[in-house]
Symmetry: C2
Subunit: 340 residues, 2 copies
């Protein structure tokens, strides 16, 4: 039904390969012929069938993006960066939500491969078992891991400098005068969060600050809420004198804020609170949250750029690793401790 290259060829009295060249090549076709072909194509509203082209070229100009859940504002931002970069490079992005489920994730990967995507962006590989990871390693297209440190040699990675971010938070709180600090974070072994904690603790210790209280829990609003509630309500807690809290991410910080409010304390007068991520909402809550900015958009963008470079040359596809800088965004959730 739609008009094909053949129609254009017939209508302009040339061979279809000439049409193809006129439409794609920069040269190798007489200017006049090209003009003619282009004119006819336009008149006929010809739209090349990209799947046919893909079949012969072996490239689909499509990238796959596998995130746990696009509703997570972090990934939404990454996705936007990725999509913009993909579009700039002439690629489409297909969206997959894995829910961090290994089976689902593998299904998506295979589905993407069947569609012959040119590359895949993925936010986590850690839920996969050994066999699955090896399966992935011999994937025919390049894969870049979002938000993962450069551990696995087989995949490219893009992530923020989590350790530096942790250190930034430490310096800031310390310089404000805080000495009794708590850090609330997710599970004990979680690549990014662990790196943040590490940077935080190291910076504090090099500042000769008393060791902070570190609480592990769920990496979620609820987790941040519960951890903080425990911190503030348990009378036996050493935490009695805590003047500042560093939450491993903004979501947890939101939970912490709720718990702080409920305890009748105020931010920042009674307790300073600092987060990590700089989600858009962190400027929306009251008081606006001071936090460590992660370049989410740039992470997506960089990942796609790596992917497209890798997809281009069939040869040297050496994995590439990129660590992006973070920065402190000072808003209104921190101040010097009351005691000072």
């Amino acid at each position: 039904m739609p008009v094909t290259i053949k129609d254009v060829a017939r209508e302009s009295g040339v061979n279809i390969s000439t049409v193809s060249r006129a439409l794609n090549d920069e040269y190798g076709v007489h200017p006049e012929t090209r003009e003619l072909v282009l004119a006819v194509a336009k008149r006929l509203k010809y739209r090349p069938n990209r799947v046919a082209r893909g079949l012969v070229t072996g490239k689909s100009n499509t990238l796959g993006l596998v995130v746990s859940d696009i509703r997570n504002p972090f990934f939404a931002e990454v996705a936007r960066g990725a999509e913009d970069a993909a579009r700039a490079g002439g690629c489409d992005l297909v969206l997959c939500n894995s829910d961090l489920d290994a089976r689902k994730q593998m299904e998506y990967i295979h589905s993407l491969l069947e569609k012959r995507v040119d590359g895949i962006l993925m936010n986590s590989v850690s839920v996969l078992n050994r066999a699955q990871q090896q399966d992935l390693a011999k994937c025919p297209v390049p894969i870049v891991l979002l938000n993962r440190a450069a551990s696995r040699k087989t995949f490219s990675t893009v992530c923020a400098d989590n350790e530096a971010g942790g250190a930034l938070a430490a310096d800031y709180l310390f310089n404000l005068g805080h000495r009794a600090i708590a850090h609330i974070t997710g599970p004990r072994h979680h690549g990014n969060l662990t790196a943040r904690a590490h940077g935080f603790l190291r910076a504090l210790s090099s500042l000769n600050c008393p060791e902070p209280l570190v609480l592990y829990g769920q990496n979620s609003f609820q987790g941040g809420y519960e951890l903080t509630r425990d911190l503030l309500f348990e009378p036996a807690r050493i935490a009695a004198g805590i003047t500042a809290i560093f939450a491993a991410n903004d979501i947890m910080a939101f939970g912490a804020a709720r718990a702080i409010h409920e305890s009748g304390r105020r931010i920042p007068c009674d307790i300073s609170l600092i987060g990590f991520d700089n989600l858009e909402l962190s400027s929306v809550i009251h008081p606006p949250l001071t936090t460590i900015h992660q370049p989410k958009y740039e992470i997506g963008k960089a990942a796609v750029e790596i992917l497209m470079r890798l997809a281009d040359k069939k040869g040297g596809r050496k994995p590439e690793h990129r660590v992006l800088g973070v920065e402190l965004i000072e808003r209104q959730s921190c101040q010097a401790p009351a005691a000072l």
Copy 2:
């Protein structure tokens, strides 16, 4: 490089068309042959090339999703619903961010058509000029408009019952005892917001409530903030006695909350605030926002279902219109006015 249907055929000693049938058809092939083929396919780790298949069948099993910005949590939720439904139906979803820019939007549409998507979900068509809309109308694949009332006969639509939502807000505030109410909303002519305002005003008037103050501004955090600030600070404002505000959406409500805080007033003691959308963040802010829930996930899901049904039968592709219900989510940002 990857293993093709030909390899499977050779390896199992049958013709490629038999392989094709064994893999796709439910019948018409001898059970033993089928077993054999399936076994060989598995052993060889055969993955059908879906673009090749698409070329001959004319279907890509791909849907396009064009939203203004996936970072808008509303669309992220819609996208998730759409993706889940698409996946359930064996389709992929390609993500496009139009920024509500007409040119970009048309480029995406054409790009999607070149990829031969089976259908398109789109969140707005109102930025397009007449010619562009007509162009769209004769699009070879079905299009469903998200979040649009069933005005245009040419496209299918899915949206929430905005008017009913506005009425819900009105009843709630009125029953709480509020009589001096303000409604802050976006531009004067904005399909959804207008419908909300309409439902709100109508319900109030049928309740014999004094007419509320309606303020038009930007449909954004900033807009909500500025409108509310004007409302609270302008001494000349009739608004002196306002006890409740209905914001046309949660984002504006967040802005309003900020302005209210800054004016030294408290929610809900001094002013009640109700939003619309029920974004996830609305339960995160302090105090948790009472709002009208819109079934965002379901909107995406319904849209994809319509699309897939329409894409299936080449024949009767009558546009379909669906209006989904809304509901009041009572949290802590509203109470009876102090005067009572």
